[in-house]
Symmetry: C2
Subunit: 196 residues, 2 copies
């Protein structure tokens, strides 16, 4: 059994990566009864106990929306130097600008005041290992075609360019001038900018 000290170790960006573990906030139990969700509930209780109302409103303070992949190796606030309240975060498989991202950006810009868009794809993306054949596998197993494209891609640089184009050409977004795209290297933590 782990003691309370073990169960309240931290979370962070580079510290985690280097395993130096100097900061100390909230850490879930390694082997919780009830599985990962029970561990999340326990960890959140500790987070809430240390939390005081920051008094933030729904509109992001830095007026920026970040579009990136669901990938487990991207800690958006740490890697981009953003704080609680600063930014909207849109994440899906690939960080692809799909219709759902356009929907979200339309709400983000029109109702909540963001004006800048930052698209971040990354090295070693799981999307590089699958193809549109994935659709056929899903159809074969489920007996029905998915009503969506898989959005598989081969080259992250090209994919960032396509995602930026989808933002810039959307008729539903009022702010399409400040759109920049990057590839995040999961081994170095570094963003490399992709130009059109």
């Amino acid at each position: 059994m782990t003691g309370p000290a073990d169960r309240t170790t931290r979370r962070a960006g580079p510290d985690k990566a280097t395993a130096s573990g100097t900061t100390s906030l909230v850490r879930m139990s390694a082997s919780p009864e009830g599985g990962v969700t029970e561990a999340i509930v326990e960890a959140n209780a500790r987070y809430a106990a240390a939390f005081t109302d920051p008094g933030l409103t729904a509109g992001p303070a830095r007026h920026v929306a970040v579009v990136t992949c669901m990938d487990a190796r991207i800690d958006v606030p740490a890697a981009l130097g953003l704080e609680l309240g600063d930014h909207h975060t849109l994440r899906n498989a690939g960080g692809v600008v799909t219709d759902d991202v356009i929907r979200s950006l339309a709400i983000s810009q029109r109702a909540l005041g963001t004006r800048s868009v930052v698209v971040v794809h990354h090295t070693g993306c799981g999307m590089l290992t699958i193809t549109e054949d994935f659709r056929h596998e899903l159809q074969a197993e489920s007996g029905q075609r998915p009503p969506w494209a898989v959005e598989a891609f081969g080259d992250p640089d090209d994919e960032v360019r396509q995602s930026m184009r989808r933002v810039r050409t959307s008729p539903f977004l009022p702010h399409t001038d400040d759109v920049r795209g990057f590839v995040f290297d999961v081994a170095t933590g570094r963003l490399r900018e992709i130009t059109a």
Copy 2:
């Protein structure tokens, strides 16, 4: 002008909320030349300088996907006690389980080994302030109907239940047993579980 010390202050969860600012990692400049994206680039350079390869693979260590809102006040890793490499993160306007979320979960479960789904909506959501009339505004301004639903909603509890149902009934997901839903209180930092 701010000195280097001011520009390398941290990021974190509860510390930020209480403004005690004791941890110290990466902090963007408050008023960067070139706007927020230039500040992100600068902050990332500092992040990368302190980063060593954690050697993580694409499959999340805790086999969980978290679906939540793009809202600026939700720091997923901090609030849920998750670390770099632990989890997939899916975020859109509302944290609604749209087709794009099902697409992402299908890839997450089938190609990258996640088995649990955690849906987190929150208090004070911007989605509560808009309605499907938003579609008509978009149509009036752009001259074309959006090819997507706005997914506006009135009650976060009901919306969490609907999102859980969409996951549980999807024919494209192999793992629909371990799906739990919560409402995150942005003023207290606490998750409240929603039962079906």
